[in-house]
């Protein structure tokens, strides 16, 4: 071998070694090549959409890639990447979707790596839901995971843009449940969302953004969505309205509703259309709800009328006290202390209103009596202030009479003095 060739060989080997080193360095610095993104982002339309959506995706944010869910071999290019041997799944069918997500979401050992507190019972609950049962029975039109959570991106539930964020849930459910075309075949009504929007809960959640207020999922469950049913609906309400529930359990309605198969709370308050309760709800005449079951002249209706009367008495007493106190305040009297009594009366009225759930006078009577007494004290204070005002006016007249008398006497004396000085 000539020295020239040897020298050339050394140069060549050095160059190749350098090239390999540079390549290896780049490979170590960059993430492994993902051919899914590389191809799909250039395919356009339906096939590139998932790539664009993934920047907001909760999975992508935690480092998962396309292949984490869809399988295949992203190291290969073109259709070779769709390698069935490497577990490639294209678009899962609706029937496949729950199991598709459950591969991770039902496995505590996987999920706790990302968030140890995240529930892993979604699939189990879904299988108990009406959606899940129908899916199992072969109905592909029901909601599965992606119907509610979206896909590409699947946003986290705490992301306000997520369709399952608390204030978005009612609108999200309504996409199907307010659509007569979708619901017609199941014979399900589509008025729930319209009613809910006007309800006390809907206004709190949707209008005021109060996330403490219940959306659809708080009563129906989310993954295990079913109508709560007559036997359990009261338990659902009691999650928040526990004090009212305790009062209701003491009422004769409890046993009667159990026998009649009535839904307890919902019998009087309704379901999706629960409005802010007023005193008009109770009483012996329409629009009181009592008349729906209790016939005219019955003892139950008489009791309802009596309860309503107690409430009205307290309200009248409070209004009367407020009126006279406002009058006294306008006249400059200090009646700020009576605010305590007025507040006490208002509090007792609230207690009495809650006690109407016992449907009995024994529970309603004490707070109404206490409310009447407190309002009475405020009224008396107001009357005393008005009387004091009158006393002040009378006192002023007397004082002015005395002052006037002294002034006139002085004036006469001065005239007499001046007459003597300048006759």
């Amino acid at each position: 071998m000539s020295p020239v060739l040897v020298r050339r060989g050394v140069f060549l080997a050095g160059g190749v070694a350098l090239f390999i080193l540079v390549l290896a360095g780049r490979a170590a610095a960059a993430p492994p090549p993902d051919s899914c993104v590389g191809c799909h982002e250039n395919l356009g339309d339906r096939l590139s959409k998932p790539v664009a959506g993934m920047k907001d995706d909760a999975h992508a944010k935690r480092g998962l890639s396309c292949a984490s869910c869809h399988g295949g071999n992203p190291a290969r290019f073109g259709m070779d990447a769709h390698d069935r041997a490497a577990g490639f799944v294209g678009v899962p069918s609706p029937k496949q979707t729950p199991q598709f997500c459950a591969r991770c979401h039902s496995r505590p050992e996987v999920m706790r790596r990302f968030n140890p507190k995240v529930p892993v019972d979604q699939l189990a609950r879904f299988l108990t839901s009406v959606h899940g049962k129908r899916l199992a029975a072969g109905d592909p039109n029901v909601a599965t995971c992606t119907s509610c959570h979206g896909v590409h991106p699947v946003r986290g539930v705490a992301d306000a843009a997520s369709p399952v964020f608390a204030t978005n849930v009612p609108q999200m459910c309504a996409r199907c449940h307010a659509d007569p075309a979708r619901m017609g075949r199941y014979g399900i009504s589509t008025t729930q969302f319209a009613q809910y929007k006007e309800s006390v809960h809907g206004q709190a959640l949707l209008d005021r953004g109060n996330r403490q207020a219940p959306g659809c999922n708080d009563c129906h469950d989310n993954h295990g969505a079913v109508p709560p049913g007559v036997t359990s609906v009261a338990n659902v309400c009691a999650q928040c309205h526990s004090a009212t529930r305790d009062l209701f359990v003491r009422s004769p309605h409890k046993a009667a509703f159990d026998v009649l198969g009535e839904g307890e709370c919902t019998t009087c308050h309704g379901t999706h259309n629960i409005v802010f309760p007023t005193d008009a709800l109770i009483g012996a005449e329409k629009p009181a709800v009592c008349v729906r079951c209790h016939p005219a002249g019955s003892s139950g209706l008489a009791a309802a009328g009596e309860i309503r009367l107690r409430l009205e008495r307290v309200k009248t007493a409070i209004t009367g006290a407020e009126t006279i106190l406002a009058r006294a305040a306008r006249a400059g009297m200090d009646v700020s202390e009576t605010e305590l009594d007025l507040n006490e009366a208002r509090t007792q009225l609230i207690i009495a209103r809650a006690a109407t759930h016992t449907a009995g006078l024994p529970a309603v009577d004490p707070p109404t009596q206490a409310g009447l007494a407190a309002a009475g004290r405020a009224l008396a204070a107001g009357q005393a202030a008005i009387a004091e005002l009158a006393f002040r006016r009378r006192g002023l007249i007397v004082a002015l009479a005395v002052i006037g008398f002294v002034a006139v006497a002085l004036w006469l004396k001065i005239r007499e003095l001046e007459a003597r000085t300048h006759p």
Partner: protein, 351 residues
């Protein structure tokens, strides 16, 4: 020995009696202005009396001040009346002081030999305004709290000493309980003590020199000070007492809300009417005049005007020769018109 004799030996009051019997008050077409001093004195005496009564119940702490005033208004027998009279009489006293100032200024009562009477009067004018300013804070309600904040801020615009004056008045950087407690001390101890001294001297000098006759006003005679003038003075007082009683009973002063230093300043904040002309004038000044802050120039101008007013006996060299110089009449009329115009503007202005 008779009682009179016994007393005379010890008190020597007959000198005063003889003095009073011979004291004469001149009569002329402006003689009515002589009542302005007596009117002011009457309101001052009412202030002392009602102030002492309020002192029995008032508590000068941020926690208790507001509640104690409410207690006075709601629970203390005739407390409402005493408080309302104290406020009405305070406002009327300020009015009386202004009227008395006008009467003596335009009558040139400051001329020789009454220069010291004028100086004590000037001191009493400042003290009266200080009484008003400090007393206004004491109920510790929202309006008072923020008005004091604005008022002490203006004091901070006085050139050179402004910053120190502000801290001295507030008892710190902000209006706090420290401010309340020093305003209370100033209102019920320092000012009354100084007033007693100045007022004593003022009244003594009035007796020594007698009533001043306005320059170039022909005298139509005179009448005895006692009993003629005194009787009419008392008649005026009795009528004023009736007026105060009507106002205090029928037009009560609201207490408002308790001051909350953390709350935002309420809208429509403006000072008491007797400070309004200064406040309004300062508000109307541009933010900057050349390189100096506008408000500072305004405050300086008011300090200068006040100084000139107090020194007027020594500036008006024509008055002691019984001559009117137009300069002082015109200056006085301009000042009165300025005060009235600024006050009216201040009252009408949307704050």
């Amino acid at each position: 020995m008779s009682v009179r004799g016994w007393l005379e030996e010890r008190v020597r009051y007959q000198g005063v009696e003889t003095f009073l019997r011979h004291k004469e008050v001149p009569r002329h077409r402006f003689a009515a202005t002589y009542y302005t001093g007596g009117i002011t004195l009457f309101f001052f005496l009412v202030q002392v009396l009602t102030g002492l009564l309020l002192l029995m119940y008032y508590r000068p702490t941020a926690d208790a001040a507001f509640e104690s005033v409410r207690l006075i208004m709601a629970k203390v027998r005739f407390g409402w009346l005493v408080r309302a009279v104290h406020i009405w009489s305070a406002n009327l006293m300020v009015l009386g002081v202004f009227l008395h100032l006008g009467a003596t200024y335009f009558g040139k009562a400051y001329r020789r030999p009454r220069e010291i009477t004028w100086l004590t009067g000037g001191g009493l004018l400042v003290i009266t305004l200080a009484f008003g300013f400090t007393g206004y804070l004491l109920p510790w309600n929202t309006l008072a709290y923020f008005a004091t904040q604005v008022g002490t801020e203006i004091a901070g615009d006085v050139p050179l000493i402004g910053r120190g004056l502000l801290v001295l008045l507030r008892g710190g950087e902000n209006v706090t309980e420290a401010t309340l407690s020093r305003f209370f001390g100033i209102h019920v101890a320092i000012l009354p003590a100084v007033t007693t001294l100045l007022l004593g001297l003022h009244l003594l000098l009035v007796q020594v020199h007698g009533m001043s006759r306005p320059v170039a006003v022909p005298e139509t005679g005179s009448e005895p000070f006692y009993p003629h003038f005194i009787m009419r003075d008392v008649l005026v007082w009795v009528v004023l007492l009736g007026g105060v009683a009507v106002l205090a009973t029928l037009v009560p002063w609201e207490l408002g809300e308790k001051a909350d230093p953390l709350a935002p300043a309420p809208p429509g904040l403006k000072p008491e009417w007797y400070f309004l002309f200064m406040y309004q004038a300062l508000r109307m000044l541009p933010a900057r005049v050349l390189w100096v802050e506008g408000e500072m120039i305004g405050v300086l101008a008011f300090v200068l005007a006040g100084t000139l007013l107090i020194l007027v006996p020594f500036l008006d060299v024509w008055a002691k020769r019984e001559r009117r110089h137009h300069l002082f009449t015109v200056a006085g009329v301009v000042a009165v018109l300025f005060v009235i115009a600024m006050t009216v503007l201040g009252l009408r202005m949307e704050f």
